[in-house]
Symmetry: C2
Subunit: 291 residues, 2 copies
């Protein structure tokens, strides 16, 4: 089914991500029906009030009845719990994509339990914020941001194309990777940076310094205010990639420590300037509104 024939979308999890998907779809001109699923009625009420969804359910089966596309937008552990339930819903098998922050276990589980594994296309949209819930959802959360799609050799090409078009409707730039590569990339540019933000704050809190901390420290630790449950899932599900990247980081820090201890100002300046130039160029290319 091409994306323009999709009339009914069900978003499982109507928090920041799911709510922003609903708002983004409307902003993009989607005229079909959007159902949302959440555990708590209060979450659905906020999502409804903000126009993220047209119809809210606490029951998964009721929300998924008649769906052409199901988007799993809850934390990783909840997605893993939902997949087997989707397998036994009955009716025509819809397209399924997800927004989970780790991909290997989700893709493996989806392909193992779903009756039509070819109609599942894993996705990791690289967008978010440290606040959660539909109250902070916004239509442009995904605009111009990358989304990693993790199709496998079992994925139906038509399903893949439609899911690509779905994320493109939200303004995202498609990047294809294996689930394993996606998890390693995410460890490097999201999960370990998150850990470091947490650990820097933890260290200042334990050893002193918070009373003289300012905006730079607030920025570098911003993501440490992320939801603890969401991130506990990530650090559990992607532990081997995260451990690998923590090892990369340890070596990188050790080399830098050596440079600082040696007092070689010229070499330090060269490294700092090289990184600054590359970061400025990256920002100008990928996030021009922040450059």
């Amino acid at each position: 089914m091409p994306v323009e024939n999709i009339a009914n979308i069900t978003v499982v999890g109507t928090g920041l991500i799911g709510g922003s998907i609903g708002l983004g779809l409307r902003e993009a001109g989607f005229t079909g029906h959007i159902k949302g699923v959440a555990r708590r009625q209060a979450t659905l009420d906020t999502a409804l009030a903000r126009g993220c969804i047209d119809e809210g359910h606490t029951d998964l089966a009721a929300a998924c009845a008649g769906a052409d596309l199901i988007v799993l937008a809850s934390p990783v552990s909840a997605i893993l719990e939902t997949l087997p339930k989707l397998a036994v819903l009955g009716g025509g098998q819809p397209l399924i994509t997800d927004a989970g922050s780790t991909k290997r276990t989700i893709v493996e589980t989806a392909e193992r339990v779903l009756p039509e594994p070819g109609r599942f296309v894993g996705a990791h949209p690289m967008a978010g914020a440290e606040k959660t819930g539909p109250a902070v959802a916004r239509a442009n959360l995904f605009a111009d941001m990358p989304v990693i799609l993790t199709a496998t050799d079992r994925t139906d090409p038509q399903a893949q194309q439609t899911v690509e078009q779905f994320w493109q409707m939200l303004g995202m730039r498609i990047v294809h990777m294996t689930a394993s590569d996606a998890d390693h990339a995410a460890a490097r540019i999201s999960h370990v940076p998150h850990a470091v933000a947490v650990l820097l704050f933890d260290m200042a809190q334990r050893l002193g310094g918070l009373d003289v901390s300012s905006t730079g420290f607030a920025d570098v630790t911003r993501i440490a205010s992320g939801d603890a449950d969401l991130w506990a899932d990530i650090f559990t599900e992607n532990s081997d990639s995260i451990v690998d990247v923590l090892d990369e980081l340890e070596q990188t820090i050790a080399a830098f420590r050596k440079g600082v201890a040696s007092g070689d100002r010229a070499a330090l300046r060269e490294q700092l300037d090289r990184v600054k130039q590359k970061r400025d160029a990256w920002l100008a290319q990928h996030l021009p509104h922040r450059a």
Copy 2:
């Protein structure tokens, strides 16, 4: 001299920090005369055009003639070069404070070379941005931010009080520390976080991941776009505190790595939630407009 009797202020270095001091003084109702010193005339022209200073000089002696208070607002190495020149200016010895990002070498040098060391009060205002120059100066850069003052037993109490009042005029919250404690605190909440931002970007650039990086990664690495010369000074001048804090960080990362490798979700969740709660409380107290 109490702060209300100060009529002539000279700012040495009219970049982001010096320029913002000038704009902040005007915003606070300072009606005296502000002279600025910079190496390049173009910098002075921008500072003059933006109203950061009333009068610009490339010559230090001309700029400091008649000053009641001199504020050294250049990178650390330039401050260290300026101090001996101030010693030989002649005339009445003005009050001197600085905005350098490390304190031990500056305080030691000031007390060694200045004819009236008691009239120097070292300061580390915790405010800044990754961009430089008077074009990005702003009147509220220092508002509600902490400033560390590093008076010694040689500091004249009246000089200390006036310098306190000066930084308070800019809206800053005064924190007293020894120069050594100030450098260690700065290493923990500014210098090492800066290093980590640089190293995380460097790692993603070397090993892959930049093509799927997004706003969270941009925030955590924002300070890596800081000026290379300024930061090379800091990593050279504060190397021993920075090495100590890099060791603290290494131990903190190693403990976290162990937790991730063990897959103990409950313990990870507890740590993440504890840090989130403490960071949210810190932000609400110290940077409420960002909470």
